[in-house]
C-alpha cells in the first residue's frame, strides 16, 4: 500500500460530498476523515523509524520535464502527516454545532484541502510539492471568503495574493533548480546531491524563504495573518493555523535548508533575527488585544517565530523540537480557537472586556480551557513544555543572547494567555456570561480529546520524538557536513 491512497481518499470523498445533501454531509465528512485517520494509523503502525522513504509511490507524470508523482513517508514528514490526519476529524467535529449553508460544499472544501496538505507533506518531487502547496490554498480561500465574517472579501483576497506571491517565487526557484541539476528532474534527492555556486544558492534560498516566511508567517511578512484568522470561520482558522502554517515550517526543513545549504549559510543570521523579533513583537501585540480570536492569532505568530528560529539554528535538538512543536502547536491552537468558537457562538462576542466569571458555573469548560492555556504557555507536563524546551535549547546552541530574547516568549506567553484566561473565566460574572451553558455533546468530546492529547504528549513525548529522531539526525548531519567542508579550508588558514 502506498501513500497515494492517503492522498486521493480525501479528494474522492470531497467529490462525493458535493453530491450529498446538506444534512448528511457533516456525518459523511467525519466518516471519511476518520477512515483517513485509521489509514494513517495503519501507516504509522507499519512505519520503521530511521529507514529510507516508505510506502513510496513513484509514477511518471510529465516526463519531458522530469516530473514524477513521487511521494512517500519518512522521519521528516511522518509527524506533519499524522498532524493532518489527526486534526481534520477533530476540526470537522468542532463544526457539529454550526449549521452552515451549503454544508456539503463546506466539508468538501475541507477534505479537498486535506488532500492538498497531504500532497505537500508527502511529496518528494518539487513540482508535486508546489502543486499541493497551491491546491491547499484554493479551498481555504473559498472557505474563508464564503463562510467568513464581515470584512472577509478584502481580507481573504489580501491573504490569497500575499501567499500566491510567495509561492510563485518558490516556483521560479524550483524551476531554476530543475534547470541547473545535471539530470534535469524535480526529484528532491537530486536537489540534495548537486552543488551550485554560493551566489546561486543565495537567490534560491531567498525565494524559498519568502514563500515559507509568508506562510508561517515570520515577521515582517505576517500582516495578512491576524485579519485572515479573525475573519475566517472557526474551522477555516483551525485549518490555517493548525495545519497549513506547518507547510512553511516543514518546507523550510525539507525543501529549503538541505537543498541550498550555502544560501542558508549566507542569510540565516538575518532570518533568525527576524524570527526572534517576531516572537517579542507578536507577544506584545497579543497582550494589547481585546478580541480573543485576534489574541490567539498573534500568539500563534509568536509561537511559530520560535519554531522558525530553532529551525534556522539548524541543530538536531532544535529541529526535533520543531517536529514535536508542530504537532503540539497544532493541537493547542485548534483547542484555543475552538474555545473562542464556543464563546462567540454562545455569547455572540469575543470582546475580553465583556466577558468574565464563566468558570463559576461551567466546570467542564473551565478545566478544558485551563489545560489548553497551560499547554500553550508550556507548563511542564503539558505538551508545550517539551516542544519549547527543545526549541530554546536549539536556539541556545546557536547564540545565547538570541535564546534569552526568544525565551521571553515563555514569560510573555504566560502573561497574555493567563490574562486572557483571567478576563474570560474569572472575576465577577455579568448578565451576559450568566447565560453561558456548559459544553455538551460533541463540544465536550472535542475538548476531552484535545486535553488528553496535551497531557499524554506532555508526560510521555518519547514515542513521538523517536519517530523523527533518526531521520532528523541524518538530515542535519548531512547539511552540517557540507557546511563544515565549506568552512574547513578557511579555518585552515593560519592566523597571523
Amino acid at each position: 500500500m502506498t501513500v497515494s491512497i492517503l492522498i486521493f481518499l480525501p479528494l474522492l470523498a470531497a467529490a462525493a460530498l458535493v453530491f450529498l445533501k446538506n444534512e448528511v454531509a457533516k456525518l459523511a465528512a467525519l466518516f471519511f476523515a476518520v477512515v483517513e485517520l485509521a489509514l494513517s494509523a495503519y501507516f504509522l503502525a507499519n512505519y520503521i523509524p530511521g529507514s529510507n522513504t516508505q510506502f513510496l509511490v513513484d509514477q511518471s507524470w510529465i516526463p519531458q520535464f522530469g516530473i514524477y508523482f513521487n511521494a512517500g513517508i519518512d522521519g521528516i514528514n511522518i509527524i506533519p502527516i499524522m498532524l493532518t490526519t489527526l486534526l481534520v476529524p477533530i476540526i470537522i467535529l468542532t463544526t457539529f454545532k454550526h449549521e452552515y449553508t451549503k454544508a456539503n460544499i463546506f466539508y468538501a472544501l475541507i477534505l479537498f484541502m486535506q488532500s492538498g496538505l497531504l500532497v505537500v507533506f508527502t511529496a518528494l518531487d518539487g513540482f508535486l510539492f508546489y502543486v499541493g502547496w497551491e491546491a491547499a490554498l484554493i479551498p481555504i480561500y473559498f472557505i474563508s471568503a464564503l463562510w467568513g465574517g464581515e470584512n472577509r472579501i478584502k481580507v481573504t483576497l489580501k491573504f490569497f495574493i500575499y501567499t500566491f506571491a510567495g509561492s510563485l517565487f518558490m516556483l521560479i526557484a524550483l524551476i531554476y533548480l530543475y534547470t541547473q541539476n545535471p539530470s534535469h528532474t524535480f526529484d528532491l534527492h537530486e536537489f540534495y546531491n548537486f552543488n551550485m555556486t554560493a551566489k546561486q544558492q543565495g537567490f534560491v534560498f531567498l525565494a524559498f524563504f519568502l514563500a515559507f516566511a509568508i506562510k508561517m508567517p515570520v515577521f515582517p511578512f505576517h500582516t495578512w495573518q491576524p485579519d485572515t484568522y479573525t475573519e475566517a470561520p472557526s474551522a477555516g482558522t483551525m485549518m490555517l493555523s493548525g495545519i497549513m502554517l506547518k507547510m512553511g515550517i516543514y518546507g523550510a526543513i525539507r525543501w529549503m535548508i538541505p537543498v541550498v545549504p550555502q544560501g542558508f549559510d549566507q542569510y540565516y543570521p538575518y532570518c533568525i533575527t527576524l524570527a526572534v523579533i517576531g516572537i517579542v513583537y507578536a507577544s506584545i501585540i497579543a497582550f494589547k488585544q481585546k478580541d480573543g480570536k485576534r489574541l490567539v492569532a498573534y500568539s500563534s505568530i509568536a509561537h511559530v517565530g520560535l519554531i522558525a528560529a530553532a529551525i534556522l539554528a539548524w541543530n538536531v535538538t532544535g529541529v526535533q523540537g520543531a517536529m514535536i512543536q508542530m504537532l503540539n502547536h497544532g493541537i493547542n491552537v485548534v483547542g484555543l480557537f475552538f474555545i473562542w468558537d464556543i464563546i462567540s457562538r454562545k455569547l455572540g462576542t469575543r470582546d475580553l472586556s465583556q466577558l468574565g466569571g464563566i468558570a463559576k458555573n461551567n466546570p467542564w469548560f473551565a478545566v478544558a480551557f485551563l489545560i489548553i492555556t497551560l499547554g500553550t504557555v508550556a507548563l511542564p507536563l503539558t505538551n508545550g513544555f517539551i516542544g519549547e524546551f527543545l526549541l530554546l535549547d536549539g536556539v541556545y546552541y546557536y547564540n545565547i543572547t538570541l535564546a534569552a530574547v526568544a525565551g521571553t516568549t515563555i514569560i510573555l506567553g504566560g502573561v497574555y494567555m493567563l490574562r486572557m484566561y483571567k478576563s474570560v473565566m474569572q472575576g465577577p460574572t455579568n448578565d451576559l456570561t450568566l447565560t453561558f451553558t456548559d459544553v455538551t455533546g460533541t463540544e465536550r468530546l472535542v475538548l476531552v480529546i484535545i486535553c488528553a492529547l496535551i497531557i499524554v504528549i506532555g508526560v510521555y513525548p518519547q514515542p513521538i520524538l523517536h519517530l523523527s529522531e533518526a531521520s532528523v539526525t541524518q538530515l542535519v548531519g548531512e547539511v552540517n557536513a557540507k557546511l563544515n567542508a565549506l568552512h574547513a579550508p578557511a579555518a585552515a588558514v593560519p592566523v597571523k
Binding site: P63, E134, I153, L168
Partner: protein
C-alpha cells in the same frame, strides 16, 4: 491539404444554403464539415510531411496540431452561435461563411512554408475579421471597431510586407528553408542590415496581429465593439494562429540569429505584460478586462519566442489551448449574463453562484485557469513558458512575469468575488443545453490538461 480544401469549399456551400433559405441546416452542415476537416487533418499525423504546391505549404505535425486546435475552438465557438446570430442579423449564412473564410486563412497561416503564403494567409484571415467586426451594420460601436481594425490592420500588413521584401532582397527567396540556410551562413555580426531591418519590420507586423504592446491600441476597442461571439473568435482562434505563424517563422528561419532580435522582443514582451495587466486592473467592464488580459496573455505567449528552444512549439500549444478554452468559457458566460442584465460590467455577475451554480463553477475554473492556479490548464501553460525561459537564464523576465501574474489575481478574482460573495436581486439564469455542453467540455479540457498535460504537451517534435 485536404483540410484546407474542405474549409475553403464549406463557406461556399453555406452561402448557397443561405441563398435557398435553409437556415436550420447552416449550423449542422458547418459543424459536420469542420469535423470532417479535423478528421482529415488528424489522419495526416503519421505521414512524413513534405512541402506541397511547389514548396508553398508544409503540413507537418506543427501545422496539424495548430490546425486542429483552431478548428476545435471554432467548432466550440460556433456551437454557441445557435440563436446568437439570428438575434443580431437576418443574414445568418454570411456569419458562418465569413468565419470559415477566416479559418481557411488561419490554416494557411499555421502551415505556410513560404513567406508569400504567410502573407496571403494573414490577409485572408484579416479581411474576414474586418467584416466580422463590423457585421452589426446599424451598431455604432461595431462600425467603429471595424474601421479601426481595418486601418490599423492594413497599416501593420504594410510593415509585414516591407519586412518580407527586405528579407527577400537579402536572401533571394521566399522559401523558409532557403532563408534558414542563408541565415545559417551568417552570424549576428556579419548579417546584412537589410535582413536585420526585415526581421524588425516583420516583428512589428506580427506584433500588431497578435496584439502585443506597444502595437496593441486597436485591441480593446475592437474587442469591445465587435459582437461578443466574434470577440471570442478573435481573442482565441485568431490569437493562437497569430502566435503559431510567429513562432513558425522565427523557429524555422531566424533561430540562428537569435542574438539579433531577442533584445527587441524581450522589451516588447515586458511592455506587453505590464501594459495589459495594469490596464486590466482599472476596467469596470468584464469584456474590456478580457481584452486587456488577452494582451498580457500575448506577453506570456511571447516567452516561447524570446526563449526559443526545442520545446517552444509545445509550450505555445499548451498555453494557447489553455487560454483558448478558458476564454471560450468566459465569453460564453458573458453572452448569457449580458442578455439578462443588458450590460457587461462586473456587477452583472453578482450572485451568479446562486442564480446558476453550474455557470458560476465553470467561470470560476476559467478564471483560475487564466490566473494560472495549479490543477488548471492555465498553470501548466505558464509553467511551460517559465520553464523554457529559466532554462535560457532569462530569470529577470520570469520575475517580471511572476509579478504580473500576481497582479492579475486581483482582476480575475474580482469576477469570482462578484459571483460568490456579492448578492444581486436577479432572477435565475437559465443556460440553454448546447451552451452547457460547450462549457462542460471546456471545463473538462481545462482540468484534464491541468492534471495531465502530457496528453498534448508532446505533440510537436
Amino acid at each position: 491539404m485536404n483540410t484546407l480544401i474542405v474549409i475553403s469549399v464549406l463557406p461556399i456551400v453555406l452561402l448557397y444554403l443561405g441563398l435557398y433559405k435553409a437556415k436550420n441546416a447552416l449550423l449542422p452542415v458547418t459543424i459536420v464539415g469542420l469535423l470532417v476537416a479535423l478528421g482529415l487533418a488528424v489522419s495526416q499525423w503519421n505521414v512524413d510531411a513534405q512541402p506541397i504546391f511547389s514548396g508553398m505549404m508544409l503540413f507537418d505535425k506543427y501545422a496539424i496540431a495548430f490546425s486542429s486546435i483552431s478548428i476545435l475552438s471554432t467548432i466550440l465557438i460556433l456551437a454557441l452561435s445557435k440563436e446568437y446570430f439570428e438575434r443580431i442579423s437576418s443574414h445568418v449564412a454570411e456569419y458562418y461563411a465569413v468565419i470559415l473564410f477566416a479559418l481557411a486563412g488561419i490554416i494557411v497561416m499555421v502551415s505556410y512554408h513560404n513567406l508569400s503564403m504567410l502573407f496571403i494567409g494573414i490577409e485572408i484571415m484579416s479581411v474576414s475579421l474586418y467584416i466580422l467586426a463590423g457585421i452589426k451594420k446599424t451598431d455604432f460601436a461595431s462600425n467603429e471597431a471595424a474601421l479601426k481594425y481595418f486601418l490599423m490592420g492594413a497599416f501593420s500588413t504594410g510593415f509585414l510586407l516591407f519586412g518580407i521584401t527586405l528579407i527577400y532582397g537579402s536572401s533571394g527567396s521566399f522559401d523558409l528553408d532557403v532563408i534558414r540556410d542563408w541565415a545559417l551562413t551568417h552570424t549576428a555580426k556579419t548579417v546584412d542590415p537589410m535582413f536585420y531591418t526585415g526581421i524588425m519590420l516583420m516583428i512589428v507586423g506580427l506584433c500588431f496581429k497578435v496584439g502585443a504592446a506597444p502595437f496593441h491600441f486597436w485591441t480593446p476597442d475592437v474587442y469591445e465593439g465587435s459582437p461578443t461571439l466574434i470577440t471570442a473568435f478573435m481573442s482565441t482562434t485568431v490569437k493562437t494562429a497569430g502566435f503559431a505563424a510567429f513562432l513558425r517563422l522565427f523557429s524555422t528561419c531566424f533561430a540562428s540569429l537569435a542574438d539579433l532580435w531577442t533584445p527587441t522582443l524581450m522589451v516588447i514582451t515586458v511592455i506587453t505584460l505590464c501594459v495589459g495587466n495594469v490596464t486590466a486592473l482599472y476596467q469596470q467592464s468584464f469584456k474590456r478586462m478580457l481584452a486587456f488580459s488577452s494582451i498580457s496573455h500575448a506577453g506570456y505567449l511571447l516567452f516561447a519566442i524570446v526563449a526559443l528552444g526545442i520545446n517552444s512549439g509545445n509550450s505555445v500549444f499548451v498555453y494557447a489551448t489553455a487560454y483558448t478554452v478558458a476564454s471560450i468559457i468566459a465569453f460564453a458566460v458573458l453572452i448569457l449574463v449580458q442578455q439578462q442584465s443588458g450590460n457587461d460590467n462586473f456587477e452583472s455577475f453578482n450572485g451568479l453562484g446562486k442564480r446558476n451554480p453550474f455557470l458560476a463553477f465553470v467561470l470560476t475554473v476559467a478564471m483560475l485557469s487564466l490566473a494560472g492556479i495549479p490543477l488548471t490548464a492555465g498553470f501548466m501553460g505558464k509553467f511551460f513558458m517559465f520553464g523554457g525561459a529559466v532554462a535560457k537564464m532569462q530569470i529577470w523576465m520570469v520575475i517580471i512575469a511572476v509579478i504580473n501574474a500576481i497582479v492579475s489575481i486581483y482582476y480575475y478574482f474580482k469576477v469570482i468575488i462578484a459571483i460568490y460573495f456579492r448578492d444581486a436581486e436577479r432572477a435565475e439564469l437559465v443556460a440553454p443545453g448546447y451552451v452547457n455542453v460547450v462549457l462542460g467540455l471546456s471545463v473538462v479540457i481545462t482540468l484534464v490538461i491541468g492534471v495531465y498535460p502530457n496528453l498534448i504537451s508532446n505533440l510537436i517534435p
